[in-house]
Subunit: 227 residues, 2 copies
DNA sequence: TGGTGGTATTATGAATTCAAAATGCTAAAA
DNA sequence: TTTTAGCATTTTGAATTCATAATACCACCA
């Protein structure tokens, strides 16, 4: 029996705004007009304002007192810092996963790994990333630590909108796949410390950061803030 | 020149409620009556409700749709999970600190370390914990990663109210001090991976968890929820 | 006596209203 | 021509009001 979802308006609104930010319809630094959004959602200002408060404490939105809200702007440093954090959390997730994971779950992840290898061999970058992400998500889920999952998802949400333009060089890609081979081995042995180490050092995140150096505006470029 | 603090009511209110929770004037599971709090703060319901939304997404408060707010109840598992997370974050903070920390800051931490040792020798538990905490905070600050600091502080806030009744056995205490000796050594060498490792495994957190097993109600004991 | 149904009360959710701050515009002065 | 003062407009902050869901209470019935 599935739970009855008492959805309040402010939750609904928060989800919608989150979505707008994620898909880039609200750009970083862009002013969020309460009036405009209220009209497009067909709600009054109260639930919208409540939603904005929530999004602010999630780090997606910036509230300037008496001057409204704007989509949080990501500096290169913030993104780097966030990825560092995510690596550490992934490390922990691996360590914990080894303590809790069932044989069946390991099998499932191995299956994903095989599929990933397949996409690697066929050089299907898009599909590769997708399965790759599923593997990391599975490990995170196996950690059996909900606080960890909540935090990781929050961080991931923050940087989601800059997740594109991942150009893999051949050497990087090979190294990443090698990391995954080692991960699977550690997982099968249920060697938590080892899996943790591998995940913390896994260069997938590091790579993304590296490839970002051009994509994000560095520090406050005042012009980008306006309108 | 210090920034002008445009403090909105909802921030003020959130701080006040956070404080009430931290100091145990609002107990876990206790119903939060909007009317009552509004009257005691002398504000209308709007800013209070906004504050509650924020506190909810900070994990301090639980919002039951159409049924009001209550102080988040901590299960033993949640606290354990949170401490696991905090250890991982401390590990990261150590790793990063080694990359950024100045000689002067290292000196400062060494000074704190000496003071801590002194309290250890004199068996001044209270003072020991205080200086101990300052050391960890200094390392966190030296990490130069604000996202990390924000997240650590949030987690710390969540479990603050169960931070008491730390009874140290002699062996534990000695081990903890030994850890600190190694930490200082790693810090002086600026050996990030080593300091990270030590901090992740530092049994201070593990100890606290262990000592909690009796303190917190395990899982939903329905009676504790009411009134 | 225990349980069910229905009404009254209370508390929450959301819209509206009122107040205050910020912004934009025009005009006057340096 | 540029700057600044002052007013009008817009936008945000907070209180109030209205609507709706939850709770408490009581009578009625088995």
């Amino acid at each position: 029996m599935s739970k009855i979802q008492h959805r309040n308006l402010y939750r609904e609104v928060a989800d919608r705004v989150r979505d707008l930010i994620e898909r880039g319809e609200l750009m970083p630094g862009e002013r969020i007009s309460e009036k405009e959004l209220c009209e497009s959602f067909g709600v009054s200002r109260t639930p919208l304002r409540e939603a904005l408060k929530v999004l602010a404490s999630e780090g997606l939105v910036e509230l300037l007192p008496n001057r409204g809200a704007r989509v949080m702007r990501l500096t290169l440093k913030m993104v780097k810092d966030t990825y560092d954090l995510m690596s550490a959390l992934e490390g922990l997730s691996g360590e914990l996963a080894c303590q809790h994971i069932s044989d069946k779950e390991i099998d499932k992840i191995c299956g994903l790994h095989e599929r990933m290898l397949d996409h690697y061999r066929k050089r299907e970058l898009q599909e590769y990333f997708q399965v790759n992400q599923q593997i990391h998500e599975s490990i995170l889920a196996a950690s059996n630590n909900e606080v960890l999952q909540e935090m990781y998802n929050n961080l991931s949400q923050r940087v989601k909108r800059v997740r594109y333009s991942k150009q893999m060089t051949d050497t990087f890609w090979r190294q990443a796949v090698e990391d995954h081979e080692n991960m699977i081995a550690a997982l099968k042995k249920r060697d938590g410390p080892l899996l943790g180490q591998i995940l913390r050092d896994h260069l997938c995140n590091k790579l993304e950061v590296a490839s970002l150096s051009g994509v994000i505006e560095e520090e406050a470029s005042p012009s980008a803030a306006n309108s």
